[in-house]
Symmetry: D2
Subunit: 351 residues, 4 copies
């Protein structure tokens, strides 16, 4: 039984399509409004969207008429936003001010001091920042963001270790799938049988967002973690799934890798008991076979929501090393937004 | 004018084919004998080899009759070896004992204390180890090895920095092309649109071989460098070209990255003045555009012999970070053996 | 409620794994026995199989102990066979003789005059051939085969047109996915950014099997269709989904392409009313957008069981032309076997 | 010794870059002027072009200043044109009128009755159409075009058979490389591990251009060949090299395939004796091993100018069948233009 009528902002884009795909059978959230640009408004979704998902476009959505992204045009309980950062700022704020909560994958408000940058398994308590938002005088509208597609698997895989040992610093190389660049995104001539060793703006986000995610709430503000991260972000000819090669220095030194493995395997995520519909079980899966996890296979596990972790081992430089894998458009984008919304519902943030 | 008659051991394999391809117009070395397994012996090369090079099989080679890998069967001045490590040991030693120098890409003798593990731009002085070899009572035969396909671009790119600043430790993630696994090698079902995050045995070589390469000759022995290296080796859907993401701590701290850039740009390799036919100019090329070097393009520069270096920058963890790229079957294998042989000729090691 | 205990012959191979994957939640068929080679027998399936499916290995299957492929070792109602043709013949016959029906994807008995070569949507009546089999004196065991992975989408897409207009001759070029070659199958060095324009043995099957499939039952024998087919089979860097470019001459000439489109769109397959669990709806889906169907997307529709058809148009040479697409390891292999078994159950062939 | 100063129109585009690459060491033609859009004019080529070739940008070209595409701005003997069809028409005509011959890969004038559509090995006599052009009152300027990238390997491979047996009709499926769509061209999300079964506008060109190419000159006009061609054009994840699967009906029936093989092998192209610098030897190479030719390998032979032909065999529908392969941006585009210019020089068309 759908309890919420939800809108999707940026519904025709790649992230918007992923929201529609993931919500097609959702037990609580029913897509009832689709927002896009002037160019698409007035058309059916079938005609407006260049559908790039491998699944079929849901037939009920196909027949819906797209509107512009205006609060007055969308009669919904809250919205998911998959808009480009270039235009998301004003529109998302307009919805929040109009009393419509915005659960967004766009990066505009990620560093706003009153806005949670949130992954439910990592820092669900940051949801409390919502109380400090005064965007909507009636107290109903608010904005919640999720981080960049690399930061989500990174912080999720890191969280049990961070809590148990403390992490001093990190060196990371990412191998990122082309779907992370949207559509049309990366030209095939650039990436077929090739690697592009640079993704503009990515490394800055990887160095910054985990500090807020792993930060602590103090007096209604996030105190950022003190955690230098050096990242090298590369683009590889993979469709879905960002793979990270991570090396870390720990504050408390483990006696052996088994101690770290135990911590990861026995970790209980802070939302475990909520049994949220999109929550993967377990949120992080540790592989012992060094050949796994692989983007094309394991990023699809648990409907694309599970973070894979592999090759966890001691390192002769710094302390430990591991790989982390997350489906970049599900776990690392729209799926995380949906899990955020599920958490917010469970905790009563939607009024 | 070809001065040397050379044999290729393992001539029908992938590395052997690369030797034949690279030597097809060599000014000093002429392939006059082809050694392979019993199964191939007696056949023409055309019939014996499943040619996987993109260039055509040279017609003079195609008509040559393959022999077994025995010194008595191959009337040559020296041999290149592209044999599998599993069988290379005895055969290579037999040639050396018979007075036929062996310039090999196989790994068997890389850690032998009397055998040079050599990249001409990095440690040409190690050739002197040859004098300590007593394999051949007549003093003509000897063995010279080159390192693993990752260690060659790594040490070549690192050498100017190593000499100018000293390197304390290294963290590295490699993205390695499928040609590095030979033929048939990596199954397409494993690697199409995928990454395999592990290559058996590779990380151990990456941690060890640079220590000998960057070591110093003391009393006729190599004193290994003190340089902890932590490596994560992955396989990516690229045909040729291993890309390395490297972060390093330096002994002497540069004031800014410009100081490091100057060192790399102004580096004069120890073999610069020899003008060897296969020596790339410059041996390391530094790219300022962060999108380069890329495996599919820049690994082909200077006939596949030039090491590409990019994204040289300060790092907030450790000191500096950069990418290095080398064509794994040319610069990282057969091409390095050929350059070794050219150096040995120039220095009078062939008698 | 599972009504049948089924065994999988060749359970550790690529086709066997697909059977296990597709049957994991089957309403009628429960896998209770796994047969493989001597080498695997005695091990748990987890240890015996190199799992190459993207989904997880079902946990109940993982703990099962593999046996050799002998009727006495497998206590089942019938078996699916995914064995290599090289060994399938004797083993499949042993099962049939022992009274255990064999539903096989192997090619050994496809042309046996008493064995149905069957696609349920195309020639379900051929199941009657079972009555002519005397392999099992007790009349319980029998063998049913499905055709090659190209012939299934070809004949399924063709069937409505064949019935309405008659088909005189066909020219076809196939672009076949690497999963069709099994594991390890096609070396990545052969197929990355490349096409191999030949698949040994494939074109002969494409020219022959449709003649039996489209043949008519006369006096308990199949009278083969008179339909010359000229095929060019190529291998392309696609993971799943064989795409066929087909041109055909028709006996009865359509006035326009709309007449053909109507026939395809309004086609009612002979098993439509049976509502078999694995039957796609519709069995053939016709795309109007010329960019579809595409292997990576539309071959996954309807759980990989639906045949896609596109670009249906008049041709200035011969009469009409179209593309057909089928998921080669689901619709074109294990999935077709399962649908065959469902049909045989529905029609009472299992005793 | 360069005899001609040549300009490149559309110099910054993908085809323009290929002209520059192919002409870097040309014995007769020296690039002395680079024409591009207003946006690029005034910049050095290094700054204006997003170089996508795998070779390095020639250093002398890198320092040249780009101009707009105007005859008065480019002091050259003739120009090559790699412009988009959308803008090529007026500009090419302006050059011709100003007395500067235009050798173009753009499609605008391919069907103009006074303009040769020319492949030197196929219809060099069509150059005579130049005499019927009255674009330039002084008789120096003219326009010569080459066909589409599929039509070049198709007609070249077909020519010996066409002359010896006559060809009645053709059915063809093309598997076309992504470089044929220019840059940025095909999005990676569309083509990684996928096939797009449609290329807009392509099949019409394939059906039309060969008729002019294989036509005969009668009274100063081309009488088009009577040759129905039905084509299905697909895009595949290959970088360079269009592979064609061709089936043909012949007027004169060969007794066996050997008769056809002999014709192809013994074919002497009409420009054989001219020894043009870019002419491949032989122009068509017939492979007996059915695995060849393959795009990634054999399309590079003879500097990308040789047409590969394979799997030549009798067909049970129509008469014969074969594959043809051509490097689409070399043989199928810029390289054909250059060979056209070499032929025109040899025959004295440049004044």
């Amino acid at each position: 039984m759908a309890e919420y009528r939800v809108g999707v902002l940026g519904a025709t884009g790649a992230v918007g399509q992923k929201f529609i795909h993931l919500l097609r059978n959702h037990p609580w959230f029913k897509v009832t409004a689709l927002g896009a640009s002037e160019r698409s408004a007035g058309k059916t979704y079938r005609d407006a969207a260049n559908w790039v998902e491998s699944s079929e476009m849901p037939s009920d959505i196909a027949d819906m008429v797209v509107t512009t992204c205006e609060p007055g045009k969308m009669d919904v309980d809250f919205v998911f936003s998959g808009m480009d950062a270039a235009i998301a700022g004003d529109i998302e704020m307009a919805f929040a001010k109009a009393g419509i909560p915005v659960i967004t994958n766009a990066r505009v408000y990620r560093q706003h001091e009153n806005v949670p940058l949130m992954v439910p398994e990592v820092n669900p308590d940051h949801a409390e920042l919502i109380h400090s938002q005064d965007f909507d005088p009636n107290g109903k509208g608010f904005i919640v963001t999720n981080p960049n597609c690399v930061c989500i698997p990174l912080t999720t895989a890191l969280k049990p270790i961070y809590d148990a040992f403390g992490v001093e610093k990190i060196i990371l190389t990412s191998m990122q799938a082309v779907s992370g660049a949207g559509y049309p995104g990366v030209p095939s001539l650039d990436i077929l049988c090739n690697i592009v060793p640079y993704i503009g703006g990515e490394e800055e986000k990887i160095a910054l967002e985990p500090l807020k995610l792993l930060g602590t709430l103090e007096n209604g503000k996030v105190k950022f973690a003190d955690l230098p991260i050096h990242a090298t972000a590369t683009r590889v000819p993979v469709i879905n799934g960002h793979l990270l090669s991570v090396t870390a220095s720990l504050k408390k030194k483990p006696a052996s890798i088994d101690e770290v493995i135990d911590v990861v395997k026995n970790w209980k995520s802070p939302i475990d008991d909520l049994n949220l519909p999109s929550a993967p079980k377990p949120p992080v899966r540790l592989y012992e076979d060094p050949r796994f996890p692989q983007p094309r296979h394991q990023s699809e596990y648990e409907n694309g929501m599970q973070v894979g972790m592999g090759r966890l081992r001691m390192a002769n430089v710094m302390d430990i090393s591991f790989n982390a894998l997350g489906h970049n458009t599900v776990r690392g984008a729209a799926g995380c937004s949906i899990l955020n919304a599920e958490y917010l519902h469970a905790k009563g943030y939607f009024k």
